[in-house]
Amino acid sequence: MKHKISFSKQLKNIGSRILELSTPLGMIGLITVSIIVILAIIAPWVVPHDPFSMDATKRLTPPFWMDGGSSTYILGTDHVGRDLLSRLIYGSRVSLLVGLLSVLIAGIIGLFLGLLSGYFGGSWIDQSIMRVVDAMLAIPTLLLVLVAIVVFEPGLVTLILVIGLTSWAQYTRLVRGEVLSVKEREFVQSAKTLGASNTHIISKHILPNVLSSFIVVATIGIATAIMTESSLSFLGLGVQPPDITWGSMLNDGRNYIATSWWIATFPGLAITVTVLAITFLGDWLRDILDPKLKKGGDDDDE
């Protein structure tokens, strides 16, 4: 019971911290991302139309506020008469899934190798990990992903794996740098004089102190992964039809951009808004994850 109380108290603390440290941009990010996530989860129950059903008679219907638009299709229809709004909502599922899972994969690899490399900085372990990282970072991710997609069969799982396995290097580099600075701090030295094991030092002293900057970069990594997914789907190498993604919707609209601008514009806007909101969220997370930071600045200079 004692445990539960302290846990709910902690939750309350976090809640009050979020309110205390709210900034306009952070709130915009948080609310927007929450809406997108909720919509993605409840998509089957909220979409006004079946996103897959085609209706040739209704093709290229403009959004409702334009001439010829109808309130049945709020954002209009695409070249085969599918409802754009419903497709947008469904498309968010793939985007978020790819974003989250690929960053999870990349993050776990990056965090692990970064901790190892930084903690044993200068040793052969560090040297070999960093050379691989250098090689990975020298090749543009998109190019690497392209090659991998061509070799393996395109699809959702491939996409997640490939994006995840090609983007861990930046996390490794970031975490390594943070570890190098944290491990020289006196509290790590003091743990060493206590006779603490390497595992203890890494998990209790180093990891908690590098986690916040890692989370910030990982959040922005989700945005990047969504962009990569969209680019690949736009090129037809990502998620395959009939699965809906914003990237492939963009591709659909490409041929009609001069006459029916809405087909490409709305998925484009969706990508922009999501990426921007996640970036705002990431920036703001950095602030609330720092135990020292309070609204109105640092009360306790070092």
Partner: protein, 340 residues
Amino acid sequence: MKSDPKNVLLKVAGLKKHFPVQKKGNKKEQQVVKAVDGVSFHVRAGETLGIVGESGSGKSTVAKLIMQLLQPTEGEVVFQDKDIFNQTKKQRKQTQKRIQMVFQDPYASLNPRMTAKQIVTEPLRIHEKMSKEDLDKRALELLEEVGLGKHHLNRYPHQFSGGQRQRLSIARAIALKPNLIVCDEAVSALDVSIQAQILNLLKQLQKNYGIAFIFIAHGLPAVKHISDRIAIMYAGQIVEIADRDVLFTNPKHPYTKALLDAVPPSNPRHRKEKTLVKGEPPSLMSPTRGCPFVSRCPNATEGCHTNAPELLEHEVNHHYACHHPVQAPNNLENIGGRNS
């Protein structure tokens, strides 16, 4: 605070630590910085040894060697009759339990993401298997021991003041009931008023638990209050070591005399004549044959340049390394900074 003179807890013999440095653009020529160059002393159970020296004199390196954070180039550190650099992993862990350290900077030596409870119980979690209830109980005991209370248990370091943080460091250091605590400039980052409080706390703990201290500082006033014996370090060597009162009344080494004269008198009207040291300490890289202090010594003669004096016991319990020791005994009344 007099203890059995035979009861030696820690013995340091001929300790040397040389750091290799690479000269820029000349990879073949390797030079060494002799940070610690042949240091010997001992600490008895329950006593306090003050080590005083200016920046770069090697005092912190000595502390790191005793804490096994560094490996020595030469020499040995014997703790409870065991050479600490020559032991199995299990023995090593036992030694680490018995020697603890308090660091200089209370802002850097505490993990900002741990609560006070987690900080003070960390040594227990590493070395002892204790139940959660026992740990909680012990955490409170430790905090109360250093003058903090129950309401501090779940606070983070940034919510404490500098003095309180140093109290936390001390609580962590005494958690395992060690025999020796090394305090590396433990009070120099604090306000003068807080310094006295922390020194009193350390004295109290020593009285209660018979802990021996090695108290490192860069000035004599801080160690005067707490030390039984004081060693003066200069350029990686000990130049004088004596009982506190002897050292303050009858300093033999010109450097000790200069350090004493540098302490401002408590009454500014009683200005005294000062011997001030001029110049810089010698480079620790260039090999010297003579006395390390020769370039700044007022008493130096030709012989001092070529012949390094040895640290010898010239009087009972009073070692110094000088060919031309200071003659006139210093009057205790004239020494300022008396805060005891």
